[in-house]
Structures are given as structure tokens and as C-alpha cells.
Amino acid sequence: MKHIEANNVNAYYGENHVLKDISLTMKANTVTAFIGPSGCGKSTFLRCLNRMNDYIDGFRKEGDIFIEGNDIYDKKVRVEELRQKVGMVFQKPNPFPKTIFENVAYGLKIQGIKNKNILEEAVERSLQQAALWNEVKDSLHKSALSLSGGQQQRVCIARALAVEPSTLLMDEPASALDPISTAKIEDLIAELKDNYTIVIVTHNMQQAARVSDKTAFFYMGNLIEYDKTKELFTNPKNERTENYITGRFG
């Protein structure tokens, strides 16, 4: 089943044409990796999927993006509801300067849910899904900023999961972390795949190869190649893809 479908997406920052005619589809419960050199448009495209570019002055998009069959740029779509369905984890861990509990419960709180039992249940479930529960269950009311970088990133993942999204966008989620924390995040992605559709932007090609089912290679705003990860890394069709994955540029 098509979970995400993009048709002829073009995007501009002012005069800058940063995404050129991108079309691709992603199936539900798969992990898709976006790779490519800095400035190739992969993050911009990821941010189109939950409309995080809306706030950037001078940003303009053409073409359609459907998630679960809905045109997410339709005028009737409320962007707040979209972002509850399409969660996001950022490059640098960005927990709120509040307790772990408040961080994870934030998404529910802003939906107006105040029932303590529901909140506690959601916090425990999300932290367990983010493989952090055992480490923090006794310190839920400590500041999230007192945790290590890797733990903070998993708080951010738990926070995104708490509102039960269908899709999780990850923008280089492990680039600011040490190797052990990175391995934990990668294991987590493999587990979360059963319940979520995951899109991950990464600079690390080994990481893309390890965690993803399909990989898209972006270059200068173009989608150069999009294929099964194994195929793309072992038998790239395009010369530029081959040059990039073998480290000849980028």
C-alpha cells in the first residue's frame, strides 16, 4: 500500500530552486533513507512531509504530496493535525527544558488531554517503545536536560511516539551522538518499523545501508536514484550514485 506519495514536487527558497520535480512513493511500515551531499535537498523534502517549511520566509512549493491518501497541502488540512500524524525527530536532540514526563506528555497536553491515568500510560508506553523506560522510570520528574545526548534523543523519539503518529520523520537523528547511542537509535528504528512508516535523512551511508529498506539518492535538488537499499548500494544504476556511495565525491 502506498503510504506516502509525492508527485512532481518542486520547491524554492526565494529564487533558489532547491527541489526539482521529485516524485516517489513509500510503502507503509518500511524505512526509507534519504542520502546525498549537504545542500542536495533531502532535508527540505523531508520537511515538506510535515510542512515544517511553512514558517520559512520565501519558501514555495509546487506539486502534490499525499500521506495515507490525503493531500497534506490541501487548504482544508489543519497543519497541527498533520503533525500529530507525521511526527518528527531532529538532528540535534531538542528536549524541552522540562521534566522527562512533561516532555513526553506534551503532545497529549496540547490536545487538551488532562486525565492523569491516560497521560501516565502514554508516557510509559512511549518510553518503552523508545527503549528508554528502564533507564528513566525512577527519574521521570527530573529535567530532560540532565540526560545524556543519546538519552535525550530517545526522549525526543518517545515524545513523537506519544501522540501515536503513523509516520516518523528523522532528520539525521544520530549525527550528534556517539557510536553506542547511534547503535541504540538504529536498533530502535528496526523495532519501530513494525508499527510506523519511517523516513530518515542521513549522511552516514553505512547507517542507510543498515537501517533502511529503500534508499533515495538526492543530488543538487534532483532525485537521482531511488531503489531497494541493497540494490542501490551493490548495483547502482546511475554513475553519480556510484561515485557518491564509493566516496568519490560528497
Partner: protein
Amino acid sequence: MTKLKQNRIIDSTFKYFGIFCTFFGLIVLAIFIFNILTEGVQRINWDFLSNLPSRRPAKAGILTAWTGTAWILGLTAIISIPLGVAAGVYLEEYGKKNRLASIIEINIANLAGVPSIIYGLLGLEIFVRTLNFGGSLLAGAFTLALLILPIIIVATREALKAVPKSLREASFGMGATKWQTIWYQTLPAASGGILTGIILALSRAVGETAPLIVIGALAYVPFVASTPMDEFTVLPMQIFNWVSRPQHGFVINAAAAIIILLLITFIMNGIAIYLRNKWQKKVNW
């Protein structure tokens, strides 16, 4: 004389010149404070704080003046804080960054530099006459609120600017609206800087005299204000009045009142510095 030697002489000359400049201000301030203290300290006692004004210096007190200052401080805070913070939030978080915004920004910065007497004239026309508040506490508080509004707006904007973008993105990414993001995340994160700005602005309002003279604050008020519509005086007005009297007793009274006024502003600045330090320690991104 070699070039090197010449340079070293210039170097050490500038050092001593710098030391002189630094101490010039400090010494003048020290002499001022020493003078005030030797004249005024003996005069400060409970009677001085609790007596009404009088024609005899030894019996005169500052009860009406310091209660007037307290009234003005409270009312000005109530008026200026919501207006200033809300305007700052709008300009920083909602307002588009276009030409109009930069014109507004320049104007607000200029307003902060307008002489306070001009605000007094504005207050006289709008609050005293048009709105018919008379020479009341309310008219004074509105005038001073206008005066410090630019300071609060600028402080609010600066504090909001210092909140990292990642915090806003995290909140928006969770499906929060702009208002939820501001209310739950941005404002609390910026609260230390905003509070510091508010207190510094209010301590400026406490020391202002000129605009209050213009709107008709009285130098002699024989009762303690009990409603915002009452006539009033404030500490700087009382001081101004006393130093212009010929009797030496009033000069001593003025010195004592200056000590009280200095104490109030020092305490307020102290709180502002304390809040700023506490905030800087608490938030480490």
C-alpha cells in the same frame, strides 16, 4: 628617541589616562553618596517614614511620597507589563519580517530615547485633559507606562530572540499551534530576560520627575492616596521640592529621601541582576 620608546610612552600614557577616566566617574559618585549619607542618615527614622509633609523640616516626613511611589510603581507595572510583553511577542513571533516591521522596530528604538518631558506633555493632553483623569495617580501611571513601554518591548524581543529555534521547531513538530508554542515553551524560556527588562524599566519609572511635574503631580499632598484617582506626589517630586527651599533642615530631609530612593532603585537593580544570573545558570541548551 627611538620609535619603540615612543610607542611605549604612548602605551603607558593611555593606560594612566584610562585609569583616570574610570576613577573620575567613580570618585564623583563616591563623593555624592558620601555627602548624601553624612547629611541624611541621621534623619532616617520611623517618624521620617510615617510623617505627613509639614512646613517645619524636623516634623516633615515622606509618608505621602513613598506611598505615592509605591502606588505609581504598582499601577505602572499593571499597565505596562501586559502591553509591553504582548507587543514584544507579537513583533517577534507573529509579525512578518518586512519593511513595515523594520520601520516599527526603528521607531520603538527611537521612542526609548525621547526625552521624558515629551511623554509628560503627551500624558497631559491625553490622560489629564482628554480622558479627564486629572492630576491623579492613574494619569501618572499611564504616562510612565508609555515612557517605559519601549524598554519592555525591546527587552521582550531580545529575550525571545535568544530562545533557540530548535525549541520552537520541537513544539511545532508536535502539532502545537503558535500560541501553544509561545505559551508553553518560548515565553517560559525567555521569562528571565523579560523579567530583568521589566524591573530595569520600572526602576527607571520610579526615578522620573519631569513627566509627573507636567501632568500636575503635587509637591504638597497632606493625605495618603487611597484610590487610583487621588492626587499624589512621589519621592523625586518631594526631593525636588525640598532642595528648592531655603531652610537647611529641608536640605537634610532631601538627603534622607534621596537615600530612600537610592535604596529602592538599588534593590530593584539587585533583583534584576539576581534573576539574570539565576536564569543563565538554569538554561543550558
